[in-house]
């Protein structure tokens, strides 16, 4: 196996990170921890973008997209945490199971 990092290596790492994030998202009852899973997934996506920008033909675009992703992530975390806080105020628990109001 070639130990020199190539695009595929980065993609594999990012895939693993994505899988871990997904695992966190679907197995965690705590909203904040689920959010952490989302962050991991976003990071893995970003890693892909930057890796493509480095090894691919797209030039700087990958990094620009990466920046956008970080910006969006920041906004997402702010709103999501606000929602979690509101949920906590209402239900006294940060668990996602409590957010059942929209369930039919």
């Amino acid at each position: 196996m070639n130990l020199e990092p190539t695009l595929a290596h980065y993609l594999l790492v990012s895939a693993a990170l994505f899988a871990l994030g997904l695992l966190g998202l679907i197995t965690r009852r705590n909203a904040v921890q689920a959010l952490m899973g989302v962050e991991l997934m976003l990071n893995s996506a970003n890693l892909n973008l930057v890796a493509f920008s480095r090894f691919g033909t797209g030039g700087i675009d990958g990094q620009v997209f990466g920046t956008f992703v970080i910006v969006v992530a920041a906004a997402e975390v702010a709103v999501a945490l606000a929602l979690v806080l509101a949920l906590y105020r209402m239900r006294r628990t940060p668990n996602l199971d409590a957010a059942t109001t929209l369930r039919g």
Partner: protein, 166 residues
């Protein structure tokens, strides 16, 4: 094996191990602080990939902003007297299967696809380039992102605000 390869594998170890801690740790606060290692590791990847501006942004926003927000979130959603912030996992085994499946899928795609690998961009100064891209080619998304940030900020503030009458 070159130095960059060593760094790559060390970073891989850090990122994946800490991400595993984030996901699997039973203590919320440990997850939150393991996230620090993950974010820093990813920033390291960016440096390795020649995206130093993005690495700085990653550090500033993820470590300085999002991580602290998450820690605040952890603390605010628990009574301050709760010393051990235990978080339970549900459906761990099916979740593992799903995650493994996704990983295998992604790995297969990543390795099998004949990516159009160009000459690539060797690591060099990117700040000016990114700046030009923001204010030229991507002006509209840039402005949209700034508006999105503003809206998210206001929205978040509005949601968490305690109503006086409540």
């Amino acid at each position: 094996m070159t130095a960059s390869a060593v760094v790559f594998w060390v970073l891989t170890l850090i990122v994946l191990a800490s991400a595993a801690v984030v996901v699997l740790s039973r203590s919320l606060i440990n997850s939150a602080f393991a996230l620090l290692a993950t974010f820093s590791g990813v920033a390291g990847f960016y440096v390795l990939l020649g995206a130093d501006f993005l690495a700085a942004v990653q550090f500033l926003v993820y470590v300085g902003g999002i991580l602290i927000l998450l820690v605040f979130g952890v603390m605010l959603t628990h009574r301050i007297q709760d010393l051990d912030l235990r978080a339970e996992a549900r459906q761990l085994v099916p979740g593992l299967f799903v995650a493994a499946g996704v990983f295998i899928l992604l790995a297969a795609v990543a390795t099998r696809t004949p990516w159009a690998i160009g000459a690539g961009r060797l690591p060099s100064a990117t700040t000016a380039e990114i700046g030009r891209a923001f204010l030229g080619k991507y002006l509209l998304p840039f402005e949209a992102a700034s508006i999105l940030l503003l809206v998210a900020l206001i929205g978040a503030a509005l949601i968490v605000r305690k109503r006086e009458d409540a």
